[in-house]
C-alpha cells in the first residue's frame, strides 16, 4: 500500500504529503484528504496507467476510492493476471 500511496501523491500533485501521512483507512475525499471530483478522475487514470484497470464511470469510483485500503483491494481483485 505504500507504493500505492506514493503513486497517489505523484498522480495528484500532493507535494506536501508523504506516504506515511495518508492513513490506510483515511477517507480520501472531502473530510479526509480533501480530494475533489477531478482528483477522482485522475485516480481513474492512475488505475489505467499503472494497473491496466479500466473503470467504466465516475460513480463506480466512489466505492473504489473510499480509502487506500479499498483501492488496493480493488486493484488486487481486478488486476489482469500476468502470464
Amino acid at each position: 500500500m505504500a507504493d500505492l500511496k506514493q503513486q497517489i501523491i505523484a498522480q495528484l500533485n500532493l507535494k506536501d504529503l508523504k506516504p506515511e501521512d495518508i492513513g490506510d483507512d483515511q477517507p480520501l475525499f472531502v473530510e479526509g484528504l480533501g480530494l475533489d471530483s477531478i482528483d477522482a478522475l485522475e485516480l481513474i487514470v492512475l488505475l489505467q496507467q499503472e494497473y491496466k484497470i479500466k473503470l467504466a464511470n465516475a460513480e463506480e469510483g466512489q466505492d473504489v476510492f473510499r480509502s487506500v485500503r479499498t483501492m488496493a483491494q480493488y486493484i488486487r481483485e481486478h488486476q489482469p493476471k500476468t502470464v
Binding site: 500533485n13 500532493l14 507535494k15 504529503l17 477531478i38 478522475l41 487514470v45 496507467q49
Partner: protein
C-alpha cells in the same frame, strides 16, 4: 455615474524572475530556473500554505501568486461583501500554455486534471476560490495589454455600483515567458493610493517590463 472615485491601492508584478509589490523588489531569482521552478521557489519563499497550488497550471500559479501578494494582509471578501469584489483580467495567449501541456498527455492517457486548465478564466476561478470573491468577473484576450480598455471596463463596473473592489490586470504565461501585472482597485482610498487612471495602470505594467517608475 462614472464619477465614482476609484483608487489603485496595491499592485504586484512578476516577470523574469523578479517580483515587485507596490514597486518594491521582493524577490529576485537569478538562478535561471524555468517558469515552473521559479513559481515553485516563489511559493516556498513567501511561505504560502495552499496545497492546491501544486495542482495548478503555470498560468494559474502565476495569477494566484501575484494576487496572493497583492492582497497580503487583507481580507477583501470580508471588508466588502463577496459579491461586490470583481476580477477582470486579460492576456494575449489565453490558456495556450495549458492547452499544449494537455495535448502532450493525449498521446498517452488524457489528463482530466490538465484539461480543466485549458480555459483562461480558470485563473479567475482559482483566485475567487482562494479569496472568496463572488463578484462580476471577465477575462479578455487581447493582442497586447490595453490599459485604456481595462480602465474603462473596471471603472464602468464601479460606476454601476456592481462592485466595491476589483482585482485587475494582465496575467500571461506561455512556456518560459511569463508576466503578471495586477492591481487592486477600490472605491476607498488607502495609504499611498493612486487615482485609478490609464497613466497609473501603464506605470504598473511597465514595472513588469523591468522598468521602475517613481
Amino acid at each position: 455615474m462614472s464619477d465614482t472615485q476609484t483608487y489603485i491601492t496595491a499592485h504586484c508584478c512578476i516577470s523574469s524572475g523578479e517580483i515587485f509589490k507596490n514597486g518594491m523588489l521582493l524577490l529576485n531569482d537569478k538562478t535561471g530556473s524555468d517558469t515552473t521552478g521559479f513559481l515553485l521557489s516563489a511559493y516556498k519563499y513567501f511561505n504560502v500554505d495552499y496545497p492546491k497550488f501544486y495542482k495548478m497550471d503555470n498560468l494559474c500559479k502565476l495569477g494566484f501568486l501575484s494576487v496572493e501578494l497583492l492582497l497580503e494582509g487583507r481580507r477583501i471578501a470580508e471588508e466588502y461583501s463577496p459579491e461586490t469584489v470583481g476580477i477582470v483580467l486579460s492576456n494575449a495567449n489565453s490558456s495556450l500554455d495549458a492547452d499544449l501541456n494537455y495535448f502532450q498527455t493525449v498521446k498517452n492517457i488524457p489528463s482530466p486534471a490538465q484539461f480543466v486548465y485549458t480555459l483562461p478564466n480558470i485563473v479567475i476561478g482559482e483566485i475567487s476560490i482562494r479569496h472568496h470573491c463572488k463578484g462580476e468577473n471577465a477575462f479578455f484576450v487581447n493582442d497586447r495589454f490595453d490599459a485604456g480598455f481595462m480602465q474603462f471596463y473596471v471603472q464602468d463596473l464601479f460606476g454601476r455600483k456592481r462592485i466595491n473592489a476589483c482585482i485587475s490586470g494582465w496575467v500571461e504565461c506561455l512556456g518560459e515567458e511569463y508576466k503578471a501585472a495586477v492591481y487592486l482597485v477600490e472605491n476607498r482610498p488607502g495609504k499611498e493610493a493612486l487615482p485609478f487612471n490609464i497613466d497609473h495602470i501603464h506605470q504598473i505594467y511597465e514595472i513588469a517590463n523591468g522598468e521602475i517608475n517613481g
